[in-house]
Symmetry: C2
Subunit: 363 residues, 2 copies
Amino acid sequence: MMEHPENNEEYKGLVVNEGVENLPQVNPYATFRRKKRTLTAEEYVDGILKGDITLLSQAVTLIESSLPSDQAIAQRVIELCLPHAGNSIRLGITGVPGAGKSTFIEAIGTELCHMGKKLAVLAIDPSSERTKGSILGDKTRMNELSVEANAFIRPSPSAGSLGGVARKTRETIVLCEAAGFDTIIVETVGVGQSETAAHSMVDFFLLLQVTGTGDELQGIKRGIMEMADGIAINKCDGNNVERAQAARVSFKNALALFPPTDSGWKPYAVTCSAVEHTGVKDVWKMVEDYVRFTKKNGYFDAHRTEQSEYWMFETINSALLGGFYNNPKMEQLTEEYKNRVLNNQISSFIAANELINAYNKER
Amino acid sequence: MMEHPENNEEYKGLVVNEGVENLPQVNPYATFRRKKRTLTAEEYVDGILKGDITLLSQAVTLIESSLPSDQAIAQRVIELCLPHAGNSIRLGITGVPGAGKSTFIEAIGTELCHMGKKLAVLAIDPSSERTKGSILGDKTRMNELSVEANAFIRPSPSAGSLGGVARKTRETIVLCEAAGFDTIIVETVGVGQSETAAHSMVDFFLLLQVTGTGDELQGIKRGIMEMADGIAINKCDGNNVERAQAARVSFKNALALFPPTDSGWKPYAVTCSAVEHTGVKDVWKMVEDYVRFTKKNGYFDAHRTEQSEYWMFETINSALLGGFYNNPKMEQLTEEYKNRVLNNQISSFIAANELINAYNKER
């Protein structure tokens, strides 16, 4: 199990410390800085294709870096890994905090490793900052899984725009697949727009639910249920079994009222207990059934192609919009116009037109 | 009832034909062109505020025009109408073709007119072309409503980008409200993305459903049900009564499983028969209850403010993206890169970056 590279002994062997830390700082500008020896993209790719987890981890760190020099290498690494990527099942998992996502991923992940699969667990959580213990950031939550040799757990890229965070996770999938991981789990918290992003990069999207007094849906965002290819009702254990089974029937009836999916697959609900490891295999069976079904009717490949297209356009759009919204002058002006719109002093459309005119002059 | 201005006698009085049609055309460039006398924005607004339907209709035609000179006047008209707008209930109605939308709008519209309300019926259908009988385009479908003096029926702006079509409908609402219409219905077909656009400009979003053999959801897009503030199960008449009532119970149970709405309102389902005019008042009661409920908890105004903000950003974004996608050179290049992405020859992200670089050089 490979964690964040900085905590890893093996990794340190690859870092050539050219500077010295903790020198008395007379002039801070004169302080030597710790510098890594930079590998070439080809060296990273060689390592990744051999399944070298250390180099995989370092390459993911480059993907997550905002330094242009790191990005240049990262993009080259992705390009070279691309022909070796794609051979995996990508499973998205969402659910509100409290649904037991970590425990569930531990349970299903351990099962998968014991089945001989190589599993990478990634996350999308734009609100995360590593220091704050984001989803998957707190490794202590996944003790059991993290000791599996075939599991690679990587926390969410740290705070940033949703598009940026999601793009990095999407790129990390390419590298993991090239490194031989045949099962990818992408975790999100079911409270924001990360679900749409996760949904656009996985084959199967699982909604993890808990039963309770009817408040179980309180935290989850509307629209997510209709994205789900399946629902797993967790915590079907102890006193909760009856309620969980009743919930399964309710969801079954509700899902029957939903419009058909593009895949032709009919989503259904199963119960499980991540704590007692019961029903977890049923969830995986559902995923496998789905994969078999959609590979047969052609949807699996068509969907992946659609997703590639989606990410190309998504990235173009982010760049086009970013030019405007990340421009400090436009940011200030937009705020001013927004307030005039909110006070009904100007129409939304006129405000937008004047802002665009200002932007075109600005450039 | 005012229809499309070209069909209207009153309208013709305002058109000064300065040219003569059907002259033998020796040189087509020398042909006199029919020319309208252009009113000033202030003249349009004076008329609109007096409830002059002819001038309202003409101003809407300016909104729908793509001529820059027309747009300049239209934007000024909107700006001047804005302080007089907002005083209405805006009801969005969606449902697949066959759900009986036209008949339902006739039925509820006639009821509303008899209650003394002034009703404007608009539509969003980007696929529409007036000549092809788009939604609301075919006036013969609304014979009953179109003779009501207090009803203003306007077909969807003709084919164009969804953003453009929706923006025009949104702007038309401002003018209708300034003209004294206190009830606005926006119709969409439940098959595309028009629902999101309609949803973002109405107070209450109604999903019109029909009962049947379970195929009733076949045409409707996933995600729409979760947008609905209420569901009306139409065609609850004749042999269909029992099925419609059973469907109401099913939807009731399904809706209870949905996460709570931002408004705090709990959507529910009612049955009705547009043909027999039964239950239609219950639908309107639901809308009124909703308005009362959300005005009390502050959501009504907060939601409208949010929508204004949405439209400002939506319009900015359309302009930013339009610069790229409407550029013929970029269109060709994007197609080339897209094919390379689809053939797995290049990553989505690298393709996007190279396209953006090309675009920045191009400008």
